[in-house]
Amino acid sequence: MKTLTLILLLCLALTVMAHDYVPAPPQDHPILLKGGTAFTITDGTLEDTDVLFDNGRIAAIGRDLTPPDGCEIIDVAGKHVYPTMVATGTSLGLTEIGAVRATNDAREVGRINPDVQTRMAYNPDSEIIPTTRSNGVGYAQIMPGGSLLQGRSCLVNLDAWTQEDAVEVSEVALHLAWPAVTISTGWWEERSAEEQKKDMIKNREAIGRTFDDAHAYYLARKANPNIEIDSRWEAMVPVFDRELPVWVHANDYRQIEQAIAFSRRYGFRMVLLGGCDAALAIDLLKENSIPVVYGYSTALPNRSDNDYDQAFIVPRLLYDAGIPFCIGKFSATAVRNIAFDAGMAEGFGLDHDIALRSVTLSAAEIMGAESEIGSLEVGKKASIVVSDGDLLDFLTHHVTMMFIEGRKVDLDDKHKELYRKYRDRKGPGAGSGN
């Protein structure tokens, strides 16, 4: 209750000075978080440890560090200190109100859109973003939607004035939604099983042709840099150079198997996003070193006959098999729950350190940002979260401070604001509770 009051005071102070949540200015003095329990990710859990950062980067981690001149010392004794969480698969900043068309920017029309980029539309002022920060998420991958080649995602920090300020990795991946493979038997389905199968083959052939065309362009472009630019295929040059990975969205075993064969045929770096059936494809994923962005650790089983915990145990199975994976959330508003998705995986057998890693460093690694973020390491960006207790459990998760690149982030949000506005309202009939 004490900390709650503290936050409230803090929030009140902020609302007095601003009508919105102002991005924090660059770090202009060293800060020492003193005496907390540091969950470093790379170097284990360090009790009673100080974390010193300056100029936006972590300067030192250890016991009883000597604060440099002008250092702000913040006592975090008894509290947990983590790297900020890194969310994958989100549509933050691309959608505000799902049912209001004007606020949706996640899906471009058409099926071959390798040239669209989410960073062109990311709205850093979305009201959803502060509510996400409040639960310890500092970075998020912004992913396009749509069918087949959806576009390219970026990785942003969640405390920025503009999309340009926000970008951490401007091109994370090209996104490919693998066509469906399940025969639909629902009442709405008008095609026979055979017709559906034919359509599925057609869809797969369409991707093949697209990659053939793009590859032909790639070869021509390498031979002659002066050919006419095809906007779509130009965007895929880095894919064939193996610079830009392709994140294939696939859940069914057959999709996963087909996608891996496809990646081998065209020689691109593949990441699997989704992975409901990953348990069936463990050997394939391992042999081909395919990292997995798993988004279903709290979800329903993939098939009606599956075990009730089929979706819950996939992270543990991936870990046991040595397959690199992270836990993501394919949503905007629900991204704030990724800590609990990791907690759920832990509840179903994943080791605590690995659960934490799955929403921090592992996510950064899969997005190629591990040298800058994702762990508490000297030299990395000082993107840090302080919680009253275990970040992954509702009962202890209580984020009291967040720093992004050493900048102290405003943790107020629309929800807290409305809470303050209404919590003590006295209406007619007050006190007549049932």
Partner: protein
Amino acid sequence: MKNAVILLVALLVGSASAQTTPPLGIIDKTPHLKAFTNARIVIDPDRTINDGTLVIDHGKILAVGSSVEVPPGAEVFDLQGKTIYPGFIDPYAEYGLERAPDPETRKARHPIYDAVRVGGDAWNDAIHAEVDWSRYFAPDHEAAEPWLKQGFTSVQAVRMDGVLRGRSFVTSLGSGLPNDLLVRPYGWQVAAFHKGKSPQEYPGSLMGAIALLRQTFHDVTWYRQAHAAYRKDPSQRMPEFNCAIEALQHLPQEKIIFATGNTLDLLRAARIADEFSLDAVILGSGHEYARIKEVAASGRTLIIPLDFPAPPAVTTIEDELDVTLATLRHWERAPSNPAVLEQNGVAFAFTASGLDKKDEFLSRLRKAVKHGLSRQTALAAITTVPAEICGVADMVGSIVAGKSADFVICDGDIFDDGTAIYATWTQGVPEEFIPLDEPSFAGSYALTLGGGEYNLTITDNRKKGKRKIEGKLLRDSISVSLKDIAHEQDLISFAAALDTFGASGIARFTGRLVASSLGGTVVLGDGSRHTWAAVADTAEVTSTNNTNENEEHDGEITLVSRLTSPNRAFGLETQPPQQNVLIKNATVWTSDTEGVLPNTDVLVTDGHFAAVGQGLTAPDGYMVIDGTDKHLTAGIIDEHSHICISGDVNEGTDAISSEVRISDVVNPDDISMYRSLAGGVTCARIIHGSANPIGGQAEIIKYRWGGGSEDIKYRQAPPSIKFALGENVKQSGWGDQFTTRYPQTRMGVETIIRDAFQTSREYETAWANYTRFGKKDRERTIPPRRNLRWDALVDVMNSKSFITCHAYVQTEVLMLMRLAEQYGFRVPTFIHILEGYKIADEMAAHGAMASSAPDWWAYKFEVYDAIPHNPCILHNHGVVVSINSDSHDMQRRLNQEAAKSVMYCGMSEVDALNMVTINPAKQMKIDQFTGSITVGKDADFVIWNGPPLSVYAHPEQTWVEGRQYFSIEKDLAEREAIEKERTALIQKLLTTDNKDAPPGEKKKGDGDKGPYVDPGTKGGSL
């Protein structure tokens, strides 16, 4: 014989003068007197004559028996070696009628809420009760042929369209004028749960269709009373004429046919029939074995299709992924469904409807016999029982003098593989498939040709009705196959390569069968013409029938699948027993005034909590569970769920649909129940969706997994009803064509609900006035029409039924509370209620409770002010708050959803857990029975592996009323059993000869719940 003579005379008198149609040209007076001799005659399922004579004339049976004399002048058919069966009757067909046309729909622009009214018909376009389908009947020989080939001689037909489909007719499948073919022009009314081609929106759901039927059956009574009263006192307002309701006036004295497509619907039809004391015959689906006890208890006669499923596609491991255990089981067990029905004393007839190809009917029937159906019952199911169902037992269904000359001539037992039907006679007219006197060319012949001696061997077989003739020429152990074999009656022609024998080229033979020898003309390879003769040298004749290549015999089937309830993965073979239990030394979250009790024992006796305390001892026979380090809570209760509902959860058509009832469509087969038990849920309110301001009546279920739809209903719970406000009911997100239904604004939402309340009150008053009349006045006064829509609202206003109202923004919540107050009642529960925090005091003052979700927001505009602190504010202002799921997924983690209030706004863990136990029980008005660990309440409880609100916690055991429905151990054992059974079934499939049925054909409606939907993308339409 005397009778036959009398009948013969009667027919002679009648035949020429009884029909109205004037003949054109020369009048046909061909005699029709025929006698069939030396036949095995199956009179009916109980009586067979081994060597009998059948005499018919003018379409009627004159005589049948073993000592019947052939009348002089009769045309005689020697049926030595043949069997005569009564013609088969299909009691459910769409024959001789045009299929219902696709409606010219205005739907492209706007949905249609009203019907085009013609001739005083029903208000709903799915009701065709007034149609006598015999008036539209046109005999259709091409359509009749497939039935005739399978031995059917008559059918009961109706257009298969609509909820009340009109009156069936029974007709012969012969050719001619409908006037002569209609055996029973006015049959029975036919009902179904589909609106068919009606373009009108209502009814859009299964529960809507049932409600429409129920209302219409009530209207039948009202209509009779109203018109009787009007005749007595014509000064009253004239009651409407309604040809559909008028056509239903005889229902109480008649049969009604209910067409259903699955076993749950079959049971629903039986319940509706019980409700209105209707003599219903129900069309089933072939899945009856899976709920045979309930089916048998319904006591109804059934019509059973034989559409056994195609073998599931399991030949590739990829295809196998789409095949459920239930599908595999049904493949194995469907053929034994008729045997199971028989063993359980269910009366039934078979129908060929539902079969893609009618020519598979007999082979399916034979398969059913191999799977244990007795031949006697099988025959009854295609003769006497359907005759009874169709009301024509005095005319058809057995070979008895005076009945229609409808019979089948075949060459053996009809249930043996290989038995071929030679002819099907309808009303004394044959449809011949194999000539009775068909010669067989089979034999071994000595053939002399050009001085050479050959052996000519011919085989002549029928396989599945198709004749196949093969042959070879043999000399000096060199053999040449005959080719280009053709035949017509006793003529056969073939070619043979004689160069093999040293002659030149190909010789072409043509010959006739005379006695047992063949002979005719041959043209040799050199062009020379000769005559040839072949004399049969042995008596070896290959039988033309009964090549019984199938090794299986009646009833000799080994099943590897299990039968569970529900019959799917994780179904139960038996209900778990009610156990007396002592849980020792657990941390007990009582959800009662005691709060959390450490190291406490809980005693469960006869399904109820018997004691809570320390140091309790287990009486004899009690199971003891060590609760050390475990947490014990009351079962989780979900105030807002849509699991276990068959069909659409919305009757989202008319703005008011208070007459529809979830209780009509409870689906106990939904795997969601088991999964939720694994999440600690023991009870839920399953409710109508939010597509209209006044939705439908809710049902409260206990998670008695494995029980039937009636078993899982929680009878202690009072009735409740779903209301909804805001964007969904004004169709904001439905698409551009949905702009015409009233209301389209929150203003209109208020108005239409107010109007409904007012009308219901006036309706109640009208009834009160009417019931005060004495008997005499009542007979003279048109009664108020029983209106199920208003009945439900009268109960709401009298606080006999309770509203659970979908609402988001504060304005609409205040609106409904004030409206209710004006009509003198309260709205007990608002669901979603995401802006409840803005008017917490007003809600508390009204007495409203809140059932919410913690952190869903921003999916539509009305939830843009939703905050996760909402439950805390409401709770702190004295509102009883629950957390609900509204989701098949979230339902399994309601403890976590409750924990979010601890996290966001510091609610105590005890209060938070209460939000998913005792608080929803209060909202559902079942808190005196369940919702807490309190002595005397239902023993609904969960044993957790840790503190129940932790993200790391999950249930280890879930109990409902002292029965353990989930435990991790049982679940793991079941997984193994499923895997084993599945493997065995797949191996059986792979080793079964499936050449008759192409694998992998999926039929619509076999699916489960549709594709997986990411919960993160789920909208709020429910």
